[in-house]
Every structure is written in structure tokens, then in C-alpha cells.
Amino acid sequence: MEHNNADLDDMKARWAAHDRDLDMLVVHLNRHRLFATHVQPAVAALGWLRTSAIVELVFTAPTLIFLGSFTADHIAEMRFALPAFVLGAMALVLTAMLVAQIVVSRRVDYAQPVVAIQKTLATLRTLRIRYVQGILLGGTLAWPLIVIVLLKQFDIDAYAVFGSAYIWANVLAGIAVICAAIWFARTYGERVSGSRLGRYLADVISGSSLQKASRLIATVDAFERD
């Protein structure tokens, strides 16, 4: 054990010697570029996420208002009010997730203690993944409802044009597509590693990125707690 302690002291001494060697490092800071460039897209992931959430909110919020007023206008016709209400509920959840992303992203200050910031970043990542999952999977399920509502805006009765059975068959087809997409992403997700977007979407759909984010939160929690 004494031998090991000596090794440990020796390690610290070697590290200190290494540190002194680093005094010889020559560092050149490209001041012109740093001080002239406010944002480099590749490194401004957080800024991009916040901007993207704000832009999405600009589109989602009016949709929410439209669906709310549509539901109220057609409350006596449940076959139109119900799809609009379901879509409105989905839009409300997405809006809440966007607002949460904006709020949480504003709390990220890299000069704050590591544990707190890593937890905030992991929470933000989880929110984003759930949001993208909601868009991809919810959208697949919701499109027949969207058709019903939009056609009604032009006084076209989608039930009369397509038939109720056709519409509900599409809802069921949406569910089947979701199941197939999850299966495909879990089975063949690894094979799309050549495309960053493809890999990202496969990970989101299969739930693996959500699992990673949850593991990350658990790891940071455990580090903080132990």
C-alpha cells in the first residue's frame, strides 16, 4: 500500500511537472475573428434551439387559437368539433413544450456549477426529444383530423366526401405507421449512421435518444447524491 501511495504522490508530481511544461505552450488567439463573429452556427446549438423554438411557437400559437375558435364555432357538430378539440389539445401540449424549451434554455449559463448546468442541459435535451417525437408520431396520427378541419373551413364535409370508414381507417393506418416506424428505427437505426439527420430521427423514433438523455440525468443525479 505504501508503494501505491508513493505512486499516487508521484502521479501528482508528474502532473505538476507536466503543468509546468505547458507554460511553453504557444497560444494564438484570433482576436479579429473572435471579436467580430457573434455566432458560429456549428457551436451555437443552444442559440439555434432557442431560435427554432421561438419560430415554431410563432406557428403553433395561431394554430392553437384557430383550433380553439373552430371548436367553439362547431360545438353543436361533434363530428367536426371533436377532431378540432383533439388537434387543439395536441397543439396545446406542443406549445407548452416549446415554451418550456425556451424557458429552460434561458437558464443555461455555462459559468454556473457543472452539476446544475449538466442537469439543465439534459432536461432541455429531454424536452426537445419529446417535442420532436410528438411532431413525428402525433402528426402521423393526426393528419386525417387535420383534413377534416381544413376542409370544413371551405364548407366541405370530409365525412361526406371520403366516408367515415375511410377516415377512421386512415387513423388506424397512422397507428400502424407509428408502430412500423418504431420497429424500423429500432431494427435498422444503426444502418443510417451515414446521415446525421437520419440517425437523429431514427434515435428519436426508436426512443434510444430519450433513454440516453434519461441515463444522463440519472448519472448526474447519482454523481451529485453519492
Binding site: 505552450l25 497560444v27 488567439l29 475573428r33 457551436v43 449538466q118 444522463l216 448519472t219
Partner: protein, 169 residues
């Protein structure tokens, strides 16, 4: 809006503490291209956070917080991010790298740090850099007692690891 004085002060502080950037980059990235990319990200984040830097706090502690937060995030998205952000001539920070002929002991220490998870890697770096428990607690956001416990574990783990490979002086 950044004044020339502020820019000058920032550049001077970065130069004075360049070793922190170097050590964090070499501990979190295995290859040189990634290290260079991480160095750019750290510098940009340091500059963005600089207006909120409080003089009452030591610059090295503040710099460690920012650098470690960026490095841990960078490390996690290593598999998905775009490689090599900027061409060499557009880099914000050029570091003439230290020679690679490390002593076997130091090489082993780097290997040991490589194998740690990102959070414990941060702890090991601060411990080896001889920061006090209070400073480490402040950088990581843990209690001093927790830091003491973790350092005790880290030392035991180091001893075991080095004993396994028969490290001698």
C-alpha cells in the same frame, strides 16, 4: 458591446490560463481534430460568458466551470456533431501542441483519466491541479463533504488501477 479594453483583458486572461483549455481538451478528446474543435467552442463560450464574469471569483475557477461544462456537452454529442468546425486558418485559437513524448507514468495517468466518465474526469482534473475541496465544490456544484468522499474514492481507484499495471517510480 465589447470595448477594446474588455477584448484586451479577455485575451490576456485566456493567455494567462491557456493551460486550463489545453488540459480540458486533451482530457475530453482523444484525437487532435476534436481537441481543436473543442478549444474553439470553449473560447467562444468563455467570450460569451465573459461579461458576467465577477472579479471577486478567481478567473481560473470560473474558466474551469465554463470549459468543463462545454467539454462535457461536447463529449456527449461527439458521435453526432459535425466534425472539425472551422478550417485551420479560421480557428479562433491556435495552440502549438506540447510534444507527444510523454513519460510512461504520465501516459498511464492520461489513460486512466480517459477511462473515467465525464463527471469524474472533471473531478480528477481539478484534484490533480491541486484545487482545494472548497474550490472543487464550487466548480462542480457539490458539497465539500461530497467532494472529499469522491476524492477518497478517486484515490483508491487510481491506486488500484496503477497497482494492476505495476506502476513503478
Amino acid at each position: 458591446m465589447a470595448t477594446p479594453d474588455m477584448q484586451e483583458r479577455f485575451a490576456q486572461l485566456v493567455d494567462d490560463h491557456k493551460k486550463i483549455v489545453y488540459k480540458v481538451c486533451t482530457s475530453y478528446c482523444r484525437n487532435r481534430g476534436d481537441r481543436d474543435d473543442l478549444a474553439q467552442e470553449i473560447i467562444i463560450q468563455l467570450w460569451r460568458s465573459f461579461p458576467s464574469f465577477d472579479d471577486r471569483v478567481s478567473f481560473s475557477t470560473w474558466m474551469y466551470r465554463v470549459a468543463l461544462n462545454v467539454a462535457i456537452s461536447f463529449y456527449r454529442r461527439e458521435a453526432t456533431r459535425a466534425k472539425h468546425l472551422a478550417p485551420a486558418d479560421e480557428r479562433l485559437l491556435e495552440i502549438a501542441h506540447a510534444p507527444d513524448d510523454e513519460s510512461p507514468g504520465l501516459e498511464m495517468l492520461h489513460r486512466y483519466i480517459d477511462d473515467l466518465d465525464p463527471m469524474n474526469k472533471a473531478l480528477a482534473l481539478l484534484y490533480l491541479d491541486d484545487y482545494s475541496h472548497r474550490e472543487i465544490a464550487s466548480v462542480l456544484g457539490l458539497s465539500e463533504t461530497n467532494v472529499a468522499t469522491k476524492i477518497h474514492r478517486l484515490k483508491s481507484s487510481m491506486k488500484t488501477s496503477f497497482a494492476k499495471v505495476g506502476m513503478t517510480r
